[in-house]
Symmetry: C2
Subunit: 140 residues, 2 copies
């Protein structure tokens, strides 16, 4: 699937394909700030999810902030209804709450992520969001 | 001076006028994430500087990240040449380094700021950037 930027100019570069054991579908990650640049507190990155692209279920040891800058997508905590993500949505993700985020089935979604680091780690990856789980959310 | 968004749609709301003892000119601040939402680690905000608008000289106890999302402006550390800020520029500001940032004389500039908190404080404000200091930078 090709990434297109017809809606508006991209602010930051697209970056590289994200690891296949973190994401399903086509997802690109651009690091904007590394921990060594900012007292080891967090990383800042841009994540571009092509339509259908999404993270695995995961947790953050001391939370994460998402700033949605383009497109349409979903944020879902385990056992709760999914919430719509769109340009301008801000999500403050609590520590240790299992969740996923990604594009909707028919739109790309781009967010900036501030991923807080505790003991050298910012995320614990779990299992993929299954096709059934993803289809259920996209019925909304 | 009126803020216009002819170049592209604003991602986040404009917010309210920033305090006059922090900023010179017309500057609007929109809080995106409060410390209590994210383990007290930092605040996240959008700052919109109209042309000519700028911060006072200031320092951060454990640094700050700027993500420029629109326009043209300047970042300058005390005693160094100013650096151009434009859409896509990322600045990791070191702790305790005196600096200012703002719009250029003839363009607005919008950045997201992640302002790290130490002992309940994210910034120490100093003196205004004088008209002479600002004019010198804008000759570049």
């Amino acid at each position: 699937m090709e990434i297109t930027d017809s809606e508006n100019e991209t602010i930051f570069p697209l970056g590289n394909r994200g690891p296949e054991n973190w994401f399903s579908g086509e997802v690109h990650v651009q690091t904007l700030v590394s921990p060594e640049q900012i007292e080891g507190l967090y990383t800042v990155g841009q994540v571009t999810f092509s339509a259908g692209g999404r993270t695995y279920w995961h947790t953050h040891p001391i939370g994460q902030v998402l700033l949605v800058i383009e497109g349409k997508g979903w944020y879902q905590e385990r056992g709760k209804p999914a919430q719509v993500l769109q340009k301008g949505t801000v999500v403050a993700i609590p520590k240790e709450v299992e969740h996923w985020h990604g594009a909707s089935a028919d739109h790309k979604m781009v967010h900036i992520a501030v991923s807080n680091i505790a003991d050298g780690n910012s995320v614990t990856w779990k299992t993929p969001v299954t096709g059934d789980e993803y289809a259920e959310v996209n019925k909304q």
